[in-house]
């Protein structure tokens, strides 16, 4: 009650309400802070947010069919794809009109390329037909059905029109279906033929191998980081240089060096044969397979595990282990109950770093992976640079991103993301 009687607004020295002047001074601070981070914000937006959003969009965007063949798409709505009969003359007439405009704008071959992802043969059909359709007159030369089938027998096949109809939607799930070895059909999503199913397998392999590489990195990096953190400064600095040395060598050189080491006439095999451990005609196959990928990538990614581990271990005071020992804990108990739990944030940070880098790697698997050591990124690279199927590449990239986020979420649930420390 007493509060209520004196609860008029508090005033600042100049008579404005205190809350208001506080807000004003805070706002000024916020604006200044915002101005300071503006360049970074802009950079992140330009280099990170926009490309990702554009990738997400590209994986579903499919305006090309309805934009190139607007009249045809309208006519196709009246055609029953399941009837097993060819569309009527009206559709052929609309198609010719569309194509004449498209050839004029040189867009028919792009559409052919797009549809060829779905139905092999469309690319050349559009390219070849374009030249002939160009000469037709949309009024005088009607009717077109026969003429078109003359130009290319493909126009007389129901499957052609089914494909165009199926992929006429401006926003499609087709790329995502392709990305998981399925395809968009008039009847809904269907599995790809078995001999074309590869991407799910590659996703699985990428995740599995990345996990193994991460695990191998943990095992190798832990003792090294421990030494780095506990050895006297002079020795540990030297060791640190050895750890960082690979960073100063080109990735390609390091990967190629592994080839020299691991190939059948390579250093390791030669040594083993010379020592008599391995018969000359039974040399080990340790490259151009998963093993080669694991070895080379573990080596390449090792520093990314060591550095966070080291920086975390460095902050663990030796008095903890001493305390534990003074309380009667054996060396093992001290390590397992006291040292190890405190080094987990380093393992966590290193693992996330290595795993995410590994999952997106493609140069090293390409060079030393042979046929069974390649990653999903190799297919993404193929679709970006060779097949130009950017929609599929974007869908694959989006799935990869989703998988990483999902794993990150799982990690947060299991270990806790606050349990990650880069130093």
């Amino acid at each position: 009650m007493t509060d209520a009687t004196q609860s008029g607004p508090m005033l600042a020295a100049d008579g404005t309400p205190l809350k208001k002047s506080l807000a004003r001074s805070l706002r000024r601070r916020k604006v200044r802070a915002l101005a300071l981070i503006a360049p970074l914000l802009l950079f992140v937006l330009l280099s990170f947010v926009i490309p990702i959003v554009s990738m997400l969009f590209r994986s579903v965007e499919n305006g090309i069919v309805s934009e190139t063949l607007p009249l045809t798409v309208v006519e196709l709505r009246n055609w029953d794809a399941d009837s097993g009969e060819l569309p009527d003359e009206a559709l052929y007439a609309a198609f010719v009109k569309d194509m004449i405009a498209a050839v004029e704008a040189k867009e028919h071959t792009r559409l052919g390329t797009r549809l060829n992802y779905e139905e092999t043969g469309m690319s050349s059909m559009f390219r070849k037909s374009g030249r002939n359709i160009k000469r037709l007159d949309p009024e005088a030369d009607a009717p077109f059905k026969e003429k078109l089938i003359d130009i290319h027998e493909g126009w007389g096949e129901v499957e052609t029109w089914r494909t165009i109809k199926t992929h006429a939607v401006p926003i499609t799930n087709g790329y995502f279906l392709n990305a998981i070895d399925m395809r968009r059909t008039p009847e809904g999503p269907r599995a790809q033929p078995e001999d074309k199913q590869i991407l799910v397998k590659l996703f699985g392999r990428t995740l599995f191998m990345s996990l193994i590489i991460t695990g191998a990195c943990i095992l190798l990096a832990y003792p090294v980081s421990y030494l780095l953190a506990t050895l006297p400064m002079r020795v540990s600095n030297l060791l640190m240089i050895l750890v960082l040395l690979p960073f100063w060598t080109s990735l390609l050189v390091r990967t190629s060096a592994w080839k020299v080491m691991l190939q059948q006439q390579g250093v390791i095999n030669e040594t083993l044969v010379w020592l008599g451990f391995v018969a000359d005609d039974a040399r080990l196959v340790i490259i151009n397979n998963q093993f080669g990928t694991i070895i080379a990538m573990t080596h390449i990614l090792l520093p990314f595990m060591i550095l966070p581990m080291y920086s975390v271990m460095q902050t663990i005071p030796p008095s903890y282990t001493r305390a534990a020992k003074s309380m009667g804990a054996t060396n093992w108990t001290t390590f397992w109950r006291i040292y190890f739990p405190q080094s987990i944030p380093g393992i966590g940070a290193g693992s996330i770093l290595v795993f995410i880098l590994a999952i997106g790697y493609y140069i090293t698997p390409e060079i030393v992976g042979g046929t069974k050591g390649v990653f999903i990124s190799n297919r993404i690279a193929y679709h970006i640079s060779s097949s130009l199927n950017w929609g599929l590449a974007a869908a694959l990239g989006t799935i990869l991103l989703a998988v990483v986020l999902l794993l990150y979420w799982c990690y947060d649930k299991i270990v806790g993301i606050d349990n990650v420390k880069l130093g």
Binding site: E107, R110, G112, I198, K201, Q263, Q265, N288, L388
Partner: protein
């Protein structure tokens, strides 16, 4: 504030004007020996003729298709002329990223007056493609690694003959060429290869044939790998581009033998990116006309063992600029080498590449 803005503007204008005055032309190529041959055979002579012009090289040809598409989407084409293989040229043309041109208008006629369209002939595989060279993907082997008494291989089918020629082989990690050779060695006539390959059964047949040697194949991704693998004794035979074999055998004295049988001709050449400004286009056209004339293409063969794309250049091919050896016998088009060849079927692969590639990759991963 006003001062800063105007100074900025002034310096920006100066920068743009400066770059325009320096007259730069950006050519995209593959780097390495091939780019060097282009530099020596036509870029340097052209710059001598045009003192104000600088030619800048960008070694981006392996990613040219994707990069051009990205440039096109961004609306800022920074390249003036791009060297690509014919298959990529077709793709770029289909995508509207390369400029269509009229050969007889753009390209120089042969010295005897034969129009360019005739001189290049069948090699004009796309409306956008300006051919430069013919190269081939062909096989080579190490005679010293073959079993004693084994006859020297004379057919591509030695690749599939594990009994006579045991040991590992290296093949390119893609279906193109390998599928054709597999069918030929499975008894398909050369003329029927693509008809067979267009069917599901034919594709499976080719994969099955490749399957007979699958566990003995080291698959390569970069053309530099096969000579290295052969030199290290990792494989006994393999395929690569004929130019790579030439430089390994003649320049590095590697004990390889060429196996020209069933070599697959492919083409490499220029495309002009669509959407260049008038001024840039005029300059590029001038360069292209010069760089693809009969003499220039013949000159290029002095530096690399790829055949000139013009019929009229063939007689002018001389000796290697440094080694001093006759280049003609090393050309894939030399009659001795070209007894049994076939040309990459662009139309077919433009249609089937993605489909067969998916099957091939799935098959590889099995």
């Amino acid at each position: 504030m006003k001062v800063t803005k105007s100074t900025l503007l002034a310096s920006a204008v100066a920068a743009i004007a400066g770059s325009a005055m320096a007259e730069e032309m950006t050519l995209v190529s593959w780097g390495g020996a091939y780019q060097a041959s282009q530099t020596k055979a036509y870029a340097e002579p052209f710059m001598e003729m045009n003192p104000g012009l600088t030619i800048v090289w960008d070694e981006s040809s392996p990613e040219a298709v994707a990069k051009l598409r990205a440039m096109n989407e961004a609306g800022n084409i920074t390249w003036d002329l791009v060297d690509v293989v014919a298959a990529d040229a077709i793709r770029l043309c289909d995508e509207g990223l390369a400029m269509e041109y009229d050969p007889d208008e753009l390209l120089a006629a042969a010295p005897d007056g034969t129009p360019a369209s005739e001189d290049f002939g069948d090699l004009l595989v796309s409306d956008c493609f300006i051919p430069q060279i013919v190269y081939s993907t062909t096989a080579a082997y190490r005679p010293d690694l073959l079993p004693d008494g084994a006859p020297a291989p004379d057919s591509i089918c030695a690749m599939f003959d594990m009994e006579t020629y045991p040991g590992k082989r290296t093949l390119e990690k893609r279906p193109i060429n390998n599928m054709e050779w597999a069918l030929i060695c499975d008894g398909v006539a050369k003329d029927d290869v693509y008809d067979v390959l267009a069917t599901e059964e034919g594709q499976q047949r080719a994969l099955d044939k490749l399957g007979t040697i699958k566990d003995q194949v080291v698959w390569w991704g970069a053309a530099a790998e096969p000579p290295q693998l052969l030199a290290d004794g990792e494989v006994v035979m393999g395929t690569s581009y004929n130019g790579r074999w030439f430089s390994a055998i003649e320049e590095q004295d590697q004990p390889f033998e060429m196996l020209w049988d069933a070599q697959v001709f492919d083409l490499d050449g220029w495309i002009i990116p669509a959407g260049l400004s008038e001024e840039r286009l005029a300059r590029v056209k001038e360069f292209v006309k010069f760089a693809t004339d009969t003499q220039r293409l013949a000159d290029q063969a002095k530096f690399i063992s790829y055949g000139p794309a013009r019929a009229s250049s063939a007689p002018l091919v001389g000796q290697h600029a440094e080694l001093g050896i006759d280049m003609a016998p090393h050309m894939p088009t030399d009659p001795n080498n070209a007894k049994n060849t076939f040309l990459y079927n662009y139309e077919f692969w433009a249609d089937y590449r993605d489909d067969i590639d998916a099957k091939f990759q799935a098959w590889l991963a099995q």
